[in-house]
């Protein structure tokens, strides 16, 4: 009985710590950032810092959802930022309003029109990112390259690919319907929030209402035993990386729509690191295993709440990075402490074998 309680406690704590972190930041804002919680209604749309957190954080939340599954299999996906850039470039190039390969002038390019139907643009954008994910998945699961190295390839090469697609240009987008994804509103809330919610729910159903979630965790915890149980660890990895590519593509679409441009060098820059941080804050171990999609999404929200709070306080962009370092440090300290508590708690004499012990464990 005892163990049942402590087990569920550990699972709950996956959400507990990240919610605590969020509460601390919000509490700080309540005291020191006047008007942070104010939400105004303009033209039937909601505006305010909290809405901005959700809207600006949407791409990161999407990337974090995909990253969660990859990390849960015991892998990592460093290419997510580059994949965002590739997808954004893909969308921007297809928007080109000039018919055929006719020489294009500035006048044509800046026209609010497109030669490609919006549905095709969206599908091609998502397909580009998903293919990138598939490529990562094949490298990891079939070519057996270590995930860090395998995805590093696309992390580096991806920005080059994005520039090849956009012909080395930063493409400014003038086509209004495309802006809907990053700037549109449904029932007073930004469209991106609905997209995140839809993907999160789909992913949750996909992993928790099918055996896939269990398989992902099993692969992350002990891939050999999982293979010996007749489960194809390869296909599970392939699925996770491909899905991560899809999520990055969607994130790239929303981001380029929000900023009205596609920049091969800067779209989604450092998103891989933020996404990993969000997942770790959500309590998923980098070594793989148990995961929570919701906790990762909240992790992403925490990062953006922190960023926007700093902006609201007037902290300059370069000092922001230092502030972020403090956040990362705090999170890591919180978690290492939690792990220590866990280890002390589990010292069940019948269970712990001597080889589990690390010499030099602090004593109570």
């Amino acid at each position: 009985m005892n163990n049942r309680i402590s087990f569920s406690r550990i699972r709950e704590s996956r959400l507990f710590w990240v919610l605590t972190a969020w509460a601390v930041i919000l509490g700080f804002n309540a005291l020191f950032v006047p008007g942070f919680f104010r939400i105004n209604v303009q033209d039937g749309h909601l505006y305010g810092n909290l809405i901005d957190v959700l809207n600006n954080g949407a791409p990161l939340m999407l990337v974090a959802i995909g990253m969660t599954l990859v990390i849960a299999t015991g892998g990592i996906d460093l290419s997510v930022g580059a994949v965002m850039a590739i997808s954004a470039a893909m969308g921007a190039v297809l928007i080109n309003p000039a018919p055929g390969d006719k020489l294009v002038s500035n006048e044509i390019l800046t026209r609010n029109a497109t030669n490609t139907p919006l549905a095709i643009i969206v599908i091609a954008t998502l397909a580009a990112g998903t293919l990138c994910g598939l490529w990562n998945g094949l490298l990891v699961s079939r070519a057996k390259i270590q995930p860090l190295v395998a995805t590093l390839i696309l992390m580096v090469a991806g920005r080059g690919i994005a520039q090849l697609i956009s012909n080395g240009q930063i493409i400014t987008i003038y086509y209004t319907p495309y802006f809907w994804f990053g700037n549109g509103y449904i029932l007073g809330l930004p469209v991106s929030i609905y997209i995140v919610a839809a993907v999160a729910i789909l992913a949750w159903v996909g992993v928790r209402k099918t055996p896939i979630g269990l398989f992902i965790e099993a692969v992350g915890l002990n891939s050999k035993a999982t293979y010996y149980s007749g489960i194809s660890a390869k296909n599970i990895q392939l699925l996770a990386y491909t899905f991560s590519g899809f999520c990055s593509a969607l994130a790239g679409l929303i981001l380029s729509s929000y900023v009205h441009s596609a920049d091969g060098n800067n779209n989604g820059l450092n998103y891989e690191l933020d996404a990993i941080l969000a997942v770790v804050m959500g309590g998923t171990m980098l070594s793989g295993g148990r995961f929570s999609l919701l906790a990762s999404v909240i992790g992403a929200i925490v990062i953006w709440t922190f960023t926007l709070s700093m902006y609201a306080l007037g902290v300059p962009a370069n000092a922001l990075l230092a502030g972020r370092a403090v956040l990362v440090l705090l999170v890591i300290l919180l978690y290492s402490d939690r792990r220590l508590i866990k280890r002390r708690g589990k010292s069940n004499p019948a269970a712990v074998q001597p080889q589990d012990e690390k010499p030099g464990l602090p004593h109570p």
Binding site: L214, A218, T226, I231, S347, P349, A351, V352, P354
Partner: protein
Amino acid sequence: MIVMADPQNLITVSGVSKAFPGVVALEGVEFTLRKGEIHALMGENGAGKSTLIKILTGVEQPDTGSIELENTAISIRSPHHAQELGISTVYQEINLCTNISVAENIMLGHEPRRFGGICWKKLNELARQALARLGIELDVTQPLGIYSIAIQQMVAIARALAIASAKVLILDEPTSSLDATETARLFAVMRSLKQAGIGIVFVTHFLDQVYEIVDRVTILRNGRFVGSFEIAALSRVELVAKMLGRVVDELQALAHDKDQVESQSDKGRLIEASGLGLRGALEPLDLTVGVGEVLGIAGLLGSGRTELASLLFGIATPDSGSLLIDGQPVTRFSPQALIKRGVALCPEDRKAEGIVGDLSIRENIILGLQGRYGWFKFIGRQKQTEIAEKYIKLLGIRTPSPDQLVKNLSGGNQQKVILARWLVTQPRLLILDEPTRGIDVGAKAEIQKLVLELVKDGMSIVFISSELEEVVRISDRIVVLRDHVKVAEYDHAVSDRTLMQTMAGEA
């Protein structure tokens, strides 16, 4: 102190208790280790052996009680402190680095220095001396990984003795991955250390070994101290009875069950392998397993028995011969494909290949069936719990809840969870590779009994074990492997002795 200050006493533990949240791990334990004695520490899983060892090595601190080293009260603050005091430990799973040289492993952290750098010549010389003390000669400049597990174990002991002037050596199940010759070699080393006046604490599950080498034995049960005995004055049955706290007749009863099953075989062949082999792993061999038959595989460590299991389960793909299941050839070799054909394997390395320790019992049990169902046919949570509870009851897995993590179970119960994982899929052929290794006597008997019951229901079983007695007791036929070659096939009437001679290549 009641214990008299006998100068022969190395370690005296008196009245030691230790409680963890919710569990009393040790209660009033007494333990005396004398100079130049080999002292076995015995008990079922969960008896408190590990906790006592952790206290002696400074990993845990006792709540009450005292520890004396050479009749001086001490408190062992940390593993490092234990080493300084002269208490060295070699753990079951060797924690050395296989990619650096033998000498570096032995001297790691104590390298002799010269001009600010490491004096390699001296380092190798010291390592050679440390090994020579154990009567072993090796090329100490070679990486450790090229040597066998047994040699690595010796190196671990050499390291334990070289670091400090060890007075006490704790060996935690050192023989569980060694074969007979390797064990004999280890015992020779232990005897010479004993001559040198070192006290050895020896934790093992093997009764034979206890009677072969040990002077005295301390028995623990459920964290309580049962007693310390001179081994010469304690019969095997008494020893087992003290460990279990009851008189065991289950083991004897098994032989009787076997006779009843006898008439059942010969219902046709399930598995037919002809010329099945894989270069470097197994020479081509012929093999049949009948429906409802137990085929025992006997062989020393490295004889090819685990390789045979890998081929039958599709982990490795044979490069010669054919494998028929129900007369139909197997064309695709992968666990997934073979599981679909009704084959299941309980692997030898339970921790690395069997359980997923951080998943619950429920999830571990369901993994096999769910793997067979694939991605889209989901077993709902409620159904999962039902299945898990059914098999927990059926196999007598001792746990408060199906949501308990498997890593928190004892070895025997972990083995039962893997058995449950496969029984759920209703396999036709169950391959058991060392199913009773490292588990206590009670659980061993339960698993052997279960095997016989499954056979009664028409399941076929390939039973691989290094305990000959067990193989003979359970199997209908026995195939003997030696150096990756099938050397003989016997019916169940064969004696342990004949088997042993065949395995060793004497007959």
